[in-house]
């Protein structure tokens, strides 16, 4: 059945002696924005990294597009159409903005339409395209990281806390950007900022202490203040 784009079955991940994920089970359907909420240390980043193959799942399975990618090499997973925007953005500061984008293309050649679209979504990228990426501001780097993820068509984009350290104005602008991106692909977004997540997400899963504590449609969580309070006190930092 290909109704789910991504499925995690009871995934356990250890780092050294420490058990981080204690059995994460998650399904992500194709299309839309899906949010993974949780506080620091809950295992959000670990989940993304495990999906991406950067950390190896000790137990359990990860199925992407009907294909078992549990032990696969990161590069192979990327080639299947998965993009990863890490928390630290992964920008290559010694390369120019354009070189950063070029690395995200399969052959080194740009699809001009998509490049223009990226420029439209992120004007700063066009402006500084020949400058060294290290000279960009924090917000601009985040834009570049996201632009890199969409410069070619992907099936799934994993994004780790994109709003961290950004001003409210930029965050508001990002909501529109993400909504537009989600029209053509699937986004799995990891966040601590509930308000940002709520305005964006179609479905939400809450991870706490390496396990999924709740999952369901964003609308129902948004409507249920009692549930929010319970989960909020459990896991969330609300940002204004």
């Amino acid at each position: 059945m290909t109704e789910h784009l991504l499925r995690l079955d009871d995934v356990r991940t250890d780092i050294g002696h420490y058990h981080i994920l204690h059995g994460v089970s998650l399904v992500i359907p194709e299309g839309g924005v899906h949010v993974l909420l949780g506080r620091n240390g809950a295992g959000k980043t670990t989940t993304l990294r495990t999906i991406m193959g950067l950390w190896r799942a000790a137990r359990g399975a990860i199925i992407f597009d009907n294909r078992d990618i549990t032990g696969s090499h990161t590069a192979d997973i990327a080639r299947l159409g998965v993009a990863y925007v890490p928390e630290n953005m992964g920008i290559f500061s010694t390369l120019t903005v354009l070189e950063n984008l070029r690395l995200a293309t399969a052959t080194g050649a740009f699809n001009n339409e998509r490049l223009d679209r990226a420029y439209d979504l992120f004007p700063a990228i066009r402006q500084f395209r020949d400058k060294r990426a290290g000279t960009l501001s924090g917000g601009q780097k985040q834009m570049l990281a996201i632009a890199r993820a969409i410069i070619e068509r992907r099936r799934l984009i994993l994004i780790d806390e994109p709003t961290k350290g950004l001003s409210p104005a930029i965050i508001r602008a990002m909501i529109g950007v993400f909504r537009e991106i989600a029209l053509e692909t699937t986004i799995l977004l990891v966040e601590q900022n509930f308000l940002f997540a709520r305005s964006l997400g179609d479905s939400v899963a809450v991870i706490d202490d390496g396990r999924i504590a709740h999952s369901g449609a964003m609308a129902s969580l948004a409507a249920d203040s009692g549930l929010q309070t319970r989960l909020l006190s459990l896991s969330l930092d609300a940002h204004g």
Partner: protein, 336 residues
């Protein structure tokens, strides 16, 4: 959002403060100290030549470390073998190395250098697969294993060539000096500088104009992200390792012609120099290695003339001074 000032858009006087100018600044300071132009020219050319040879040996190590986080103490073994192989080829082809056959002597030279570089490529491949690959992530074991490899390699040199120093017949076309009035410049040194420049330009173009070069530069900075973009960087690594080893062997071959007398512990002797250059230059940076190597070469020669007692220690003192100013080296590319 304000744009942070970058070196791409600095006013000209800030751009001058760039570390790229350090070797020139050093040469200028030395001129003030030495006084005599003839002596200064000789020393400077000697320093540049020595620097270029060390650059050949060091650049590979710096890239390998920057890209794959692997420190290869056995790197200098390629230098030693390169030197001895070139010496052997030149000795065997001594008949070609006469004044009447300039063409043949050039061929002999190219064969000697080529043999060294070829050895570096092949041995580099073997070394990476057998010695390095099993201990990728483990820094401690890497250090230990590559030191073991260094010891074994040194012993092997003695097995094949004996324990005593070997003299290297310098190619005739590279012997002698150019004389301009008071100033005499050894032809071999000019050759070394030119060769070094060619290699540097080649590496610069390769890194900045090709897709593979792009991958290497990105990988030096953030290996994981390059993989997350879909590239098997471990496959890239073996290529870089091979090239780095070939360059080291090439450096060794040039060094053999420079010193004309080589001993099996050549590798260990230059190991420290190479490390100092990599430290000064910054890990993962070819430009850094060049600047560091030139600084080391120049310092060595200037100090040997001005303050002979300090000569041996001068390189180390240089390293300490640079580290105090820039703890990660002059132009580090890798996170360090």
């Amino acid at each position: 959002m304000a744009e942070a000032p970058t070196s791409d858009s600095l006013p000209w006087y800030r751009a001058l403060a760039n570390v790229n100018w350090l070797p020139a600044a050093l040469a200028l300071a030395a001129f003030a100290a030495i006084g005599s132009p003839a002596t200064w020219v000789t020393l400077t050319v000697a320093g540049l030549a020595m620097g270029m040879m060390i650059f050949l040996m060091a650049s590979g190590l710096s890239l390998v470390f920057g890209l794959m986080d692997v420190l290869n103490f056995g790197h200098s073994a390629f230098v030693t073998f390169g030197a001895f192989i070139a010496a052997t080829v030149l000795a065997r082809l001594a008949g070609w190395n006469t004044a009447d056959t300039p063409f043949l002597s050039v061929v002999a030279l190219l064969l000697a250098i080529g043999a060294a570089a070829l050895f570096g490529l092949v041995a580099g491949w073997f070394f990476e697969r057998v010695i390095i690959r099993p201990v990728y992530q483990d820094h401690l074991r890497q250090i230990l294993v590559t030191i073991g490899a260094l010891i074994v390699a040194q012993e092997l040199v003695m097995v094949f060539w004996g324990g005593s120093p070997v003299s290297v017949p310098r190619p005739l076309i590279l012997s002698g000096s150019l004389v301009f009035g008071d100033i005499s410049i050894e032809i071999y040194r000019i050759f070394a500088v030119i060769l070094g420049l060619i290699v540097y330009v080649g590496m610069h173009l390769g890194l900045n104009r090709t897709r593979i070069g792009l991958l290497v530069r990105a990988g030096v900075e953030n290996r994981e992200m390059v993989e997350a973009l879909g590239f098997r960087i471990d496959r890239l690594f073996i290529g870089v390792f091979m090239v780095g080893s070939a360059l080291a062997a090439l450096g060794g071959a040039m060094w053999a012609g420079y010193e004309t007398l080589i001993a099996p512990d050549l590798g260990s002797e230059v190991l420290v120099l190479v490390f100092i250059v990599v430290i000064i230059g910054g890990l993962g940076s070819v430009e850094g290695s060049l600047i560091g190597a030139l600084l080391v070469g120049l310092t060595n020669n200037y100090v040997a003339f001005l303050m002979p007692k300090l000569a041996l220690a001068s390189t180390m003192i240089l390293m300490v001074l640079v580290l105090i100013w820039r703890p990660l080296g002059l132009k580090p590319a890798a996170k360090g």
